[in-house]
Point group: C2
Chain length 174, copies 2
């Protein structure tokens, strides 16, 4: 069965500082029409920075949409279609002050493809050394170094809930 | 450091069929103000349905926001704050026609907490038996049974990109 939906019309409903919201009328595989609300997002990059002592670097930050302090991979949005690897190297240094000798692509994940086009590119960084912290004006972060065994326990206990941070473990283990 | 941001004001910018978009003015930890675009989403449930022959059930469907046919866990949105377990049992049967003797909570994931409040509750279903398919009018799906070894290979090769479907592997392995 051909599953595709064709766009009949689309309307820009909201344009924020980085997201756009679009409402589409689509033609379904059976010929009927339906509507789709779509959030356009520039996408981003997240980095599993691993040290030789079996620890991983995570950043603690407040996330307004869920009103919680989370532990997540260092990450950031891509700026104007920036190369994801360059974006990852930049974000890692800006947020944590670290550079990496090895920066390896793990995979890209579609964060919620039912309504949003955001992809996050995941990288593994090793051979870490000191660079220069340079955070955005509205970015407040605590950097934490956590044992991989404890990282897994925190996921199992529900203390880490961020999807990209949990997904990266799948790539590290397969 | 206290990382929290306080809401100073908020404006509803768009209300779609299931998402709402809100623009907030917030007070940052350093006393300055900034704005946050937030997408409110009802959240959902996704199910890793596992058979005794080391296979997992995935659904193939077209995702308009990324214009791609994806392979994902059977999943669905929560209706009006519905209990996630009941939602998962319902969505699994509606999408795939299967019921489960065992339905176990794995964890909940915040899909993109930088701009969206969507949580997906992940479950593991075992002891599968035949129920009744009952799909939404605008839902077109092919159900696939895939070996776990092949499932991992497909993630590694970048053929599976859906975040919840990749994240679930972390819970199954830890």
């Amino acid at each position: 069965m051909n599953l595709e939906e064709k766009t009949i019309e689309e309307d820009l409903k909201y344009e924020g500082s980085f997201i756009k919201v679009i409402k589409q009328v689509v033609k379904l595989p059976n010929g009927n029409t339906s509507t789709r609300d779509i959030v356009r997002h520039p996408g981003g990059v997240a980095v599993a920075a691993l040290f030789d002592d079996d620890t991983i670097l995570l950043v603690e930050q407040y996330r307004k949409p869920i009103d919680k302090v989370t532990l997540e991979l260092p990450a950031g949005k891509r700026e104007n279609g920036e190369d994801p690897k360059i974006c990852g190297i930049r974000e890692l240094e800006e947020e944590t002050g670290l550079k990496a000798e090895k920066f390896e692509f793990l995979g890209k994940i579609a964060i919620s493809p039912g309504f949003c086009d955001e992809y996050i590119y995941l990288y593994k960084a090793e051979g870490l050394y000191k660079g220069q912290i340079n955070r955005d004006d509205d970015e407040f972060i605590n950097v934490k170094k956590i044992k991989i065994t404890e990282f897994k326990e925190m996921i199992r206990r529900g203390e880490i809930t961020d999807a990209k941070t949990i997904a990266v473990l799948s790539y590290l283990e397969i």
